[in-house]
């Protein structure tokens, strides 16, 4: 069985290295196909492991080799396949296989085709390290590794200023959070003496609540960065500069959910500190609605989907914070399927429209791109949470969790967000595929994507449809062997039905409203004159609550200016100048006293005599002082010294 574990883990690495070999040479289709096949292998191995875990309930724990060992610290490269990690492995390998195949078509005209696959497979490898490690240090390797690959992939088209800027922003923001994570890891080590999950969590049961709270907070700060929670959320929308398959894989399905994974993995810790959990849940609910509002008005398909991702991450944290870890993980899985599907569909649209992203310039694309339309609509229905698609089961469960736990504020926030989600999802569907044809006038000639790209998306579509009602039972059986098996049931059946049907009706109404508003013939490409565009709310939302502006003006610029001050003023004018000042004292003394050495023997002899006299008199003075030291002391003491 270890063989399957290692195959699942290292096949992507081999694929990455294979593609990297070609990175210097022109596009070679092999560099795309081999990594995809290897990812398929990884997927099959993960499936075998899943079946094993599912049927026997056994988990796998291997230790490959020592990484760091010094003093009391011992960190191995250890990997664990249990119910949590096997779920994550399935999600990661499945989505990435689909994305790889899709990308062969999507990137086919890019001259850096080979490099793309090297980075993409490397990402999968890092992500697998992240989810499979059996200790916090290993998690951190994956954590930073996915950050690195995300940097390389956001800035993939490095000739674009916006892309490289976004890449650096993402990396640095993640670094800020990683500091929190690192401190969390240090706390874990010095308080429990180990970084292995099992040892650490076992030792945590005996720690006092204060320490645990700090550990929980610092680890969550790390999670906030990776999962782009407020206030570290701005990088995610900017990360849409990367190629669309990257957005689908990294910034929707896998990497951004790492934070959720961390909280779920540390469930034993967070179970001990419910206050931190409540904070996580509240922040999650806040981010859910906060991101959803920004998605309402945005005029960039990818950014809308990115905000929707952010919002769904908020849902997951809400669930995890309330202690419903298995629900969070379930939503993570379902979300990965339909969100990746949505992104890939967006990629098709983008290709068809020559990289145009403004849905107002599209309209009526449904005729030319039937397949994409069906897939994206399916994904949106799933995202909106309509019965019987995946979103219904996972998202409604989160609502129920909040309701049953009597967190009614969180519940109502999440409920409103569900309506918003449905609205903005179908807003872009309506704008892209339905209504008047607005693109022909602008000179676009859309065409459908390659057949195999659509087929590659098909598995995701199937899963987005069936993942909910088919898997929920089995999944619950499996995951609760490891996670707290809390069933969330609304006590009275009437309440339950009112809630469910009410939610469904609300969501369907939102969809209907979106269609009605955005399919009408009056939709024009906005030009900044309409009344809505000049309203305060619209401006606030389109500028993302002015948060990026705030960061730029009040953090980035001052830092840059302070750096310049540090260099030009402090370093050169103060520190270095004082060193040079000391040197200058000696130098000027030299310059001044060199006149003594005027070369005139007579003058020099006078100096010599003066020196001799001075030294002699000093000798006499000291001699006398030594001789009469007793008297001098007496005299001084008489003076009261």
């Amino acid at each position: 069985m270890e063989l399957f574990l290692y195959t699942a883990l290292f096949a992507p690495l081999v694929g990455s290295m294979f593609a990297a070999l070609y990175s210097g040479s022109p596009k070679n289709i092999i560099a795309g196909i081999i990594p995809s096949i290897l990812l398929g292998v990884s997927l099959i191995s993960s499936t075998i492991l899943l079946v094993l875990v599912l049927t026997t309930g056994h988990t796998l724990h291997v230790e490959m080799m020592t990484w760091m060992a010094t003093g009391d610290l011992y960190i191995p490269f250890g990997f664990v396949v249990d119910q949590i990690s096997v779920t994550m492995m399935m999600v990661v390998t499945l989505v990435s296989t689909v994305v790889h195949v899709y990308a062969i078509g999507y990137m086919s005209h890019d001259k850096a085709f080979n490099r793309f696959f090297a980075w993409l497979s490397a990402f999968v490898f890092s992500m697998l390290i992240l989810v499979m490690s059996d200790n916090f240090a290993g998690l951190f390797i994956g954590w930073e590794g996915v950050g690195l690959c995300s940097w390389g992939l956001i800035g993939f088209w490095y000739h674009k200023e916006s892309a490289t800027w976004a890449a650096n922003e993402a990396f640095i923001m993640n670094r800020i959070a990683d500091l929190g994570m690192l401190i969390g890891i240090f706390l874990v080590f010095w308080n429990t003496g180990t970084l292995q999950y099992d040892g650490a969590f076992a030792a945590m049961q005996n720690l006092d609540t204060d320490t645990l709270t700090w550990i929980g907070i610092f680890l969550f700060v790390g999670a906030m960065g990776k999962s782009a929670q407020f206030p570290l959320h701005t990088w995610l929308a900017d990360a849409m500069e990367g190629p669309t398959p990257v957005s689908a894989l990294i910034h929707a399905a896998t990497m951004v959910t790492a934070g959720v994974y961390l909280v779920v993995r540390s469930n034993e810790l967070y179970a001990l500190i419910p206050n931190v959990g409540l904070f996580i849940a509240s922040l999650g609910a806040f981010v859910a609605i906060f991101a959803a509002t920004m998605a309402l008005v945005n005029r960039d398909i990818k950014r809308v989907i990115a905000y929707s991702t952010l919002s769904q991450l908020g849902y997951m944290f809400a669930a995890a914070g309330l202690g419903a870890y298995w629900v969070a993980l379930f939503h993570l899985m379902a979300h990965a399927f339909f969100k990746a599907l949505l992104f890939l569909g967006g990629g098709n649209v983008m290709h068809a429209m020559s990289d145009e992203l403004d849905p107002f310039k599209m309209g009526g694309l449904g005729k030319a791109m039937k397949g994409t339309m069906i897939l994206m609509t399916l994904a949106s229905v799933a995202l909106a949470g309509i019965f019987p698609l995946a979103g219904f089961f996972s998202k409604d469960l989160i609502l129920e969790v909040a309701f049953v736990d009597h967190h009614f504020i969180i519940y109502s926030v999440l409920l409103v967000t569900a309506g918003l989600t449905a609205f903005y999802s179908f807003r872009i569907i309506a704008l892209i595929f339905h209504g008047e044809d607005r693109h022909t006038a602008l000179g676009f000639h859309p065409h459908e994507a390659y057949k195999f790209m659509l087929w590659a998306m098909a598995p995701l579509a199937v899963l987005a449809v069936i993942a909910g009602f088919l898997f929920k039972g089995t999944y619950f059986e499996m995951i609760t062997q490891l996670l707290p098996a809390t069933e969330y049931h609304v006590h009275s059946a009437v309440t339950y039905w009112i809630m469910t049907i009410g939610t469904q009706a609300f969501v369907i109404a939102a969809i209907y409203f979106a269609y009605k508003k955005y399919m009408s013939k009056d939709i024009k490409v906005p030009d900044g004159t309409s009344k809505m565009e000049n309203s305060f709310a619209y401006k606030l939302l389109i500028n993302q609550y002015y948060i990026p502006y705030f960061y730029e003006e009040y953090l980035v610029k001052p830092y840059r200016e302070l750096s310049t001050v540090c260099w030009e003023k402090v370093d050169q004018k103060i520190v270095d100048a004082s060193v040079d000042g000391i040197a200058k004292v000696f130098y000027t003394t030299g310059v001044k006293t060199r006149t003594m050495q005027n070369g005139n023997l007579s003058t020099m002899l006078k100096w010599m005599v003066a020196g001799t006299v001075a030294l002699l008199s000093l000798a006499v003075v000291f001699g006398l002082a030594a001789r009469y030291s007793g008297e001098i002391r007496l005299f001084l003491s008489g003076l009261g010294v």
Partner: protein, 517 residues
Amino acid sequence: MLDHILSILIFFPALAGVLGFVVNKDSIRSYGVAVATIEFVLALWLWFAFDNTVSGMQFMETIALIPTFGINYIVGVDGISMFIIILAAFFTMIGIASLGDTKDIKNMIITLLFLQMTMVGVFVALDAIIFYVFWELSLVPMLYIIGAWGGPLRIYASVKFFLYTFAGSLVMLVGMLFMAYFYYQATGQWSFALLDWYRLILPETFQLWLFVAFFFGFAIKVPMFPFHTWLPYAHGQAPTIGSVILAAILLKMGTYAFIRFSLPLFPDASVYFMYPIAVLAIIMIIYTAMVAYAQKDVKQVVAYSSVSHMGVIILGTFALNVEGISGSIFLMIAHGVVSGALFLLVGVIYDRRHTKMMDQFGGLAHVMPKYATIFGIMMMASVGMPLTINFVGEFLSLLGFYQQSHILTLLAGIAIIVGAIYMLAAYKKMFFGNVTKEENKNLPDVNKRELIALVPLVIITIWLGIYPKPVLGPINTSVESVVQLMHEKSITEEAKKRIPNLLEDITITKTSMKGAH
């Protein structure tokens, strides 16, 4: 031969350097490479013959010089110094191998060989006077390298480098003389032998004064804030090879000396000064990282980043526990590899464009993809990406210091943020975007000679990042003995508390190891 391997390691390059004067100018390069390679092989042999389980000194040699005053030629090596010696031999080798078209190449190679003698000498010396002699001698070849092959401000830079470090080490010399005098007072015999001094327990006030005296010598060498300003000038003016050796090896003398002298000789003073030094280290980390961000010259970015990383090393050293000190020694090696490589990389572009200003570049990734890749790997190593060599050192250093102070470690941890900021910004300016300058359109990518130097560094960076054990193991063994010695020597309550007693810890270690499996 193995009995005298350390003397051979010291004097072989110097002798070969003297012989180099009679070698033909055309064959001097191959001669230099051959000598440096033999030296490197000898250093590797030392590693091979080194007994990992012994914590004390190995391959010791003693020759009496001035026995009346206890000045003897004593050399020896342990896990702390061995890898820096190997690193020195390695960098001299690839430095000579990758030398481009230099004027007076013969003088350059001979100077480098002399420099190698002094570097090895510093790290194996176990007698304070011998240590001091090599310490000061190392200034001379570097002065010559900067002064003869440097940029327009070379005279100012080299004189500043020389005088500044020299002034610091004079204070250190006074400290050494006092130390020997105290030893004489305590035992009635003169001795400058370090291992003798280790046995001497000084009262706390004496420790404080001597610590400060030694501190000046070491801190200027490191260089610690606010004594760091000679470094940007030296790096800015030095030729590539000079910067590489300076950053990779010479700076390590300071941090090495902290571990060799300050900690075991003055454990109580080390504890007493731990917080002030940690604060200085944190200023060093954050402040110089900000200064690095403001630079326009890529070499200055790397130079200031060096100072910033040295701050982490200092912090790890003054963690005063095994994790931190091991980490700081490992980080010395890591920083040597990474910053050496970064200076070599800057040299590559300087050879082609004769400028180091970042606004002159832009879009280099289009024209020099291999160069961009190697630079990218080294940059990521420099910002402390896990599975690269730097991460192991930084992680352990910070982890170690966390035991002493939470809040200071949190502040020091900002290193990983600010480090990423200036490095990524510099990388973006140089490599990303479109090629805007006409001169950059047809730049040749890295050639074979440069790859000879760079590829091994990349391999080491990743290899030791994934599998640091061969290096970390011997370091750990020696550091444990240092820490135990410090614990036993310390006299104040505070120091006893801060410096862990490893003998008590053994049981805990075993249980935690069991828990780990």
